[in-house]
C-alpha cells in the first residue's frame, strides 16, 4: 500500500547503535563548530601568535643547541619547502593527492548509495550495519599488506584502502541524516503527494546535508590517514613514503617539510568542508 503507517516506522539509527543524542554514531560536530576568526584584526592577531610561536620554537632550538636530527629548526624546514618543492615534494604530493581523491570519490559514492538504500529499505540495515561498523573501527592501513599481495604495488591497493576508510564514514553519517529527517516533514511531503524520489530530493537530502558534509569531512580525514599510512607501509610512492625515506636518512628538515605538507593538506580538507558547511547548510545551527 502506498500509505503505510509513517508514524509507525519513525526510523532511528541511534537506537540500534546504542548511543543517544549528539550527532549520530560519529559525533564530530565539535570539530565543525570551531568559531571562525572574524575581521582583519582577529585574523591578524591569530597569525601574529602563530609567528611568535614558530619564532620562539626557533630560538629555543638555537639556545638549547638542539641538533637538526633531534628536531629540525622551523627556518630550515621553510627553506627546504621553498628550495626543494619542485624537485623533492611535488611529485609525491601529486601521487598522494591522486590516490586520495580516487579513493574518496569511489568510497563516498558507494557510501552515499548504501545510505540511500538502507533509508529506502530499512530492513536491510541490520545486514549492512555490522560490516560498516567493522570497517569504521578497523584501521584500513592494516589491510595494505594483504591488498598488495592481491593487487601489486600500484595505486590499486591504496585506492581500495582509502575507499574502505572513507565510504563507511560517509555512509553512516548520511544514513543517520536521512533517517533523522523529521517524520512530520516527510508526512508534509506525502500530504502533497510527493514521490519517494521527490521526498529524497526536496526533503531528506537537504535535511541530511549537514550530516553528509560531516561524513565527508571525517571520511576524508580518515582517508588521508589511510593514504599516508599506506604509503609508509607499502613503499614506492607518495608523501608517506617520503616520510620514511627522509627519516631513515636522518634528513630531518626535509622530513619536517613533508610533514608540513601533509598537515596543510589535512587542514585544507577541514577548511574546505567547513566552508561548504557554512555555505550550504548554514540553516542548521
Amino acid at each position: 500500500m502506498a500509505t503505510d503507517n509513517l508514524a509507525d516506522k519513525i526510523p532511528d539509527f541511534n537506537s540500534s547503535g546504542g548511543k543517544q543524542g549528539g550527532n549520530g554514531p560519529v559525533d564530530v560536530s565539535a570539530i565543525a563548530g570551531i568559531r571562525r576568526a572574524k575581521g582583519i584584526k582577529e585574523i591578524a592577531s591569530v597569525l601574529a601568535l602563530a609567528i611568535v610561536v614558530v619564532t620562539l620554537l626557533e630560538f629555543i632550538l638555537i639556545w638549547s643547541n638542539t641538533e637538526a636530527y633531534v628536531f629540525p629548526k622551523p627556518t630550515s624546514i621553510i627553506q627546504s619547502l621553498f628550495t626543494d618543492f619542485s624537485t623533492l615534494y611535488w611529485k609525491p604530493l601529486t601521487q598522494t593527492v591522486q590516490t586520495f581523491f580516487m579513493g574518496l570519490i569511489i568510497g563516498a559514492t558507494i557510501g552515499l548509495a548504501l545510505a540511500v538504500l538502507v533509508t529506502l529499505k530499512p530492513g536491510l540495515d541490520i545486514f549492512i550495519s555490522p560490516y560498516i561498523i567493522i570497517l569504521v573501527t578497523t584501521p584500513m592501513v592494516a589491510l595494505i599488506p594483504f591488498l598488495m599481495l592481491k593487487f601489486g604495488f600500484g595505486m590499486t591497493p591504496r585506492v581500495i584502502a582509502i575507499s574502505l576508510a572513507t565510504g563507511p564514514m560517509v555512509m553512516i553519517n548520511s544514513a543517520t541524516g536521512f533517517r533523522r529527517t523529521n517524520a512530520e516533514l516527510i508526512a508534509l511531503g506525502k500530504s502533497y503527494g510527493a514521490t519517494e524520489f521527490q521526498l529524497f530530493r526536496k526533503i531528506r537530502f537537504p535535511f541530511a546535508l549537514p550530516m553528509i558534509i560531516v561524513g565527508f569531512m571525517v571520511g576524508s580525514i580518515f582517508g588521508l590517514l589511510t593514504a599516508v599510512g599506506a604509503e609508509m607501509v607499502g613503499g614506492g610512492m607518495g608523501l608517506g613514503n617520503r616520510l620514511i625515506y627522509f627519516s631513515s636518512l636522518v634528513q630531518m628538515s626535509q622530513f619536517g617539510a613533508v610533514l608540513v605538507i601533509v598537515a596543510t593538506f589535512g587542514v585544507g580538507i577541514y577548511s574546505f568542508f567547513t566552508f561548504i558547511n557554512r555555505k550550504y547548510a548554514s540553516w542548521d545551527v
Partner: protein, 259 residues
C-alpha cells in the same frame, strides 16, 4: 442552508502495534463533517486526536472502518483536495518563506498560483517577509506561513493538528482571529485539533470531545454563537458554561479511565 457531507467517517478504528504493546488509539469512530463546516476536536493528551486526523488525511490507513471524502473512499493522501497543517509549522529551514509556499507546487509540478499566494500573504500579514528564512520569523509568523502554504493549494478540506499549540496566549488569539477571517472568506471545511477547549469553542461550529484509551467520540457540542465572532466572546456566560461542561467531560474521562 443544506450542506453536502464532505467527510464521512464510518466506524474507524486505529490500533498501533508496537513490540511491547498494543494501543487502541481510535475506536469505532463514526461522524461526518458537512461542507464548509468548522469542526474542532478536543480531548486529553494521548486520546487519539492526531491519529484520527492522520486517518482523515490518508497519511495512514485506519485499521478498520472507512473514510469517504465527497463520497469517495480515501486510500491515500489527496494533495489537491486535502491540506494539512501540522503542530510545528514544518517550514523547511533551508528554504525562504516563499520557497516553502512554492514547495507543494513544485512537488505537483504545477505553476505557482501567484495571485492566490499574494492575496494569502497579504491577509496573513506576511507581505515583505517572502524572502526571510523560517529562522528569522516569529512563531506566529511561521504558523501563518504554514497555513498560507496549505491554503495556496486551494484544498476543499483543511486538517489542522494543534497548529497554535506552541504559541503564547496573545499570539494564539491573534491567530484564531486570522483563521476565522480566512475561513469566513473561503468557507473551507476545517477539522481542527486542539488542546484548548476555549479555542475550540471560539472557532468551531461543532466540537467533538474525545475520551482516551481507547479513543472514542464521547460527545458532540453544537456551538451556535453568531459570526463573525469577537474575541470577548470568551467572557460571556454562555461560553463559560459550555467551556465548563466540556472540561468536566475531558477531566472526567481522564481520571475515570486512567487508573
Amino acid at each position: 442552508m443544506t450542506q453536502a457531507t464532505r467527510i464521512k467517517i464510518t466506524d474507524v478504528s486505529k490500533i498501533y502495534q508496537t513490540e511491547t504493546k498494543t494501543v487502541e488509539a481510535v475506536k469505532n469512530f463514526s461522524e461526518s463533517v458537512k461542507d464548509g463546516e468548522f469542526v474542532c476536536v478536543v480531548g486529553a493528551s494521548g486520546c487519539g486526536k492526531t491519529t484520527l486526523l492522520w486517518c482523515l488525511s490518508g497519511l495512514h490507513p485506519a485499521t478498520s472502518g472507512t473514510v469517504h471524502i465527497d463520497g469517495e473512499l480515501l486510500t491515500k493522501p489527496l494533495p489537491d483536495r486535502i491540506g494539512m497543517v501540522f503542530q510545528d509549522s514544518n517550514l523547511l529551514p533551508w528554504r525562504t518563506l516563499i520557497e516553502n509556499i512554492e514547495l507543494p507546487f513544485q512537488i505537483k509540478k504545477k505553476p505557482v498560483n501567484r495571485e492566490l499566494v499574494d492575496e494569502l500573504l497579504e491577509v496573513a500579514g506576511l507581505k515583505g517577509f517572502e524572502n526571510s528564512y523560517p529562522g528569522e520569523l516569529s512563531g506566529g509568523m511561521k504558523q501563518r506561513g504554514s497555513i498560507v502554504r496549505a491554503l495556496a493549494q486551494d484544498p476543499e478540506v483543511l486538517l489542522m493538528d494543534e497548529p497554535f499549540g506552541a504559541l503564547d496566549a496573545f499570539t494564539r488569539e491573534e491567530m484564531n482571529l486570522f483563521l476565522l477571517k480566512i475561513w469566513e472568506r473561503t468557507r473551507k471545511t476545517i477539522v481542527f485539533v486542539t488542546h484548548s477547549i476555549s479555542e475550540a469553542i471560539f472557532l468551531a461550529d461543532r466540537v467533538w470531545v474525545m475520551s482516551p484509551r481507547p479513543g472514542r467520540l464521547s460527545r458532540i457540542v453544537d456551538v451556535e454563537f453568531a459570526r463573525p465572532r469577537h474575541i470577548d466572546l470568551q467572557f460571556e456566560p454562555k461560553f463559560i458554561e459550555i467551556l465548563k461542561s466540556i472540561r468536566e467531560d475531558v477531566e472526567g474521562s481522564k481520571s475515570g479511565k486512567g487508573n
